[in-house]
């Protein structure tokens, strides 16, 4: 008893006193922190589990929206120009509208020029008012995203009962090089 080191050395005494305290607090702090960390994690995951289906639904809506505008030059067999010419020609064939000129031009898009293409489609032709209406209707049905920028329908002075149409249509495309994007 008299020779106990902690009696002779204060540092050993302090060690004896502090060791149990440090052990206790260390164990409690470590386990408490771990528990809090896990609790925070599961709260976050529970919140995410409710959010993720909503996010997936939003993404689906965006994907569907983008799909209509997407143009993948590598995947499509026809070029953009050929596709539109084919569309107008088939519309003209079906409706009796006579196309005299088609001109396609790609507008400059100031924002995101690499991913957005805006096409101006100039069409000149003639037919009766009903044929013109059918032609416009057919194009709208084939591609509802083609919009009318400018249209002039005037009487054809040479052919009685027919009219001339000069129309500038527009179409916006999202250019995606890789349609099969990696899964999320």
């Amino acid at each position: 008893m008299n020779s106990a080191i902690f009696i002779r050395r204060k540092s050993v005494l302090a060690l004896w006193v502090l060791t149990p305290l440090v052990l206790m607090s260390g164990m409690l702090v470590f386990s408490r922190n771990l528990l809090e960390c896990r609790q925070t994690g599961i709260w976050q995951d529970q919140a995410l589990a409710t959010l993720i289906p909503e996010m997936e639904a939003i993404l689906d809506e965006f994907e569907n929206f983008a799909m209509d505008y997407q143009l993948n030059p590598a995947a499509s067999k026809l070029s953009m120009e050929d596709r539109h010419i084919h569309l107008f020609n088939s519309a003209a064939e079906k409706t009796g509208f006579v196309i005299s000129a088609i001109h396609l031009a790609q507008d400059d898009t100031k924002k995101n020029p690499d991913s957005i293409a805006r096409i101006a489609l100039l069409v000149k032709g003639g037919g009766t008012a009903a044929e013109i209406a059918a032609f416009l209707n057919y194009i709208k049905n084939l591609d509802p995203l083609i919009y009318e920028n400018q249209i002039q329908i005037t009487p054809d002075r040479l052919h009685r009962g027919t009219m001339q149409m000069e129309a500038e249509f527009g179409r916006v495309y999202l250019i995606t090089e890789n349609r099969n994007a990696p899964p999320i």
Binding site: M1, N2, A4, F6, I7, L13, W16, V17, P20, M24, M27, L28, F30, S31, R32, L34, L35, R38, Q39, G41, I42, Q44, D45, Q46, L48, A49, L51, I52, I58, L59, F62, E63, F65, A66, Y69, K111, N112, S115, I116, A129, A130, I132, A133, L136, N137, K140, Y147, E148, N149, Q150, I151, Q152, I153, T154, P155, M163, G170, V172, L174, I184
Partner: protein
């Protein structure tokens, strides 16, 4: 020779009584520490057990999603990737909106309406759809009214007002100018109209 009996360290050494008291106190302290340490160990064990249960629940939660088993923080990683995709798509949608004209309208309802009217002494003379200054396109058209021009003109207005497609597309129609011509027995009137498109919500 005189024996030197000076103890220079006498003030530094505790007395036996003091040493005994410290020893006893230490014994009491350590005895008290044992149950407290046991309690602390038990509490820590409970915490660890609870943490383990929570981790199992978290894993089960993650397993509900198809990407389970990809590693820790899967749900958060997946949500991050979803967010990035949504952001990217939102940027694309914004770019499309910027590339499109402020308002796009079609002459098709008007054209169809006029074609259907042509039996009632109304024929299309011309249509002009041009980009307007206020974002909405400007539409002007001319009609040839023949026969009873006054009655046909009134009928055109009446039919315009009850036509659902036109009332949904246009907010107003205004006759701008009128030209009269007598071609033989029948009178022909060319009326130029200006139609204003409705602003869509």
């Amino acid at each position: 020779m005189t024996r030197c009996n000076i103890n220079l360290g006498r003030d530094f050494i505790l007395s036996a009584v003091q040493r005994r008291r410290i020893y006893r106190l230490m014994q009491i302290y350590l005895t008290l520490c044992i149950p407290v340490l046991c309690l602390a160990t038990y509490a820590s064990f409970l915490n660890l057990q609870q943490a383990n249960i929570i981790r199992s629940k978290d894993r089960a939660l993650c397993a509900q999603f198809s990407f389970a088993g990809e590693g820790p923080h899967t749900l958060r990683n997946y949500a991050d990737r979803l967010k990035n995709r949504i952001d990217s798509r939102a940027d694309q949608a914004k770019a499309v909106r910027d590339a499109l004209p402020p308002a796009t309208r079609t002459v098709l309802p008007l054209l169809t309406f006029i074609i259907n009217q042509s039996d009632a002494g109304t024929a299309l003379e011309r249509i002009s759809l041009t980009p307007g200054h206020n974002g909405l396109p400007a539409l002007e058209f001319s009609l040839i009214l023949s026969g009873d021009t006054k009655k046909n003109g009134q009928n055109f207005f009446r039919d315009w007002q009850i036509n659902r497609n036109l009332s949904e597309s246009f907010s107003s129609i205004t006759p701008v100018t009128t030209q009269r011509s007598d071609a033989g027995k029948s009178e022909k009137v060319i009326v130029n109209y200006r139609a204003v498109f409705k602003e869509l919500p």
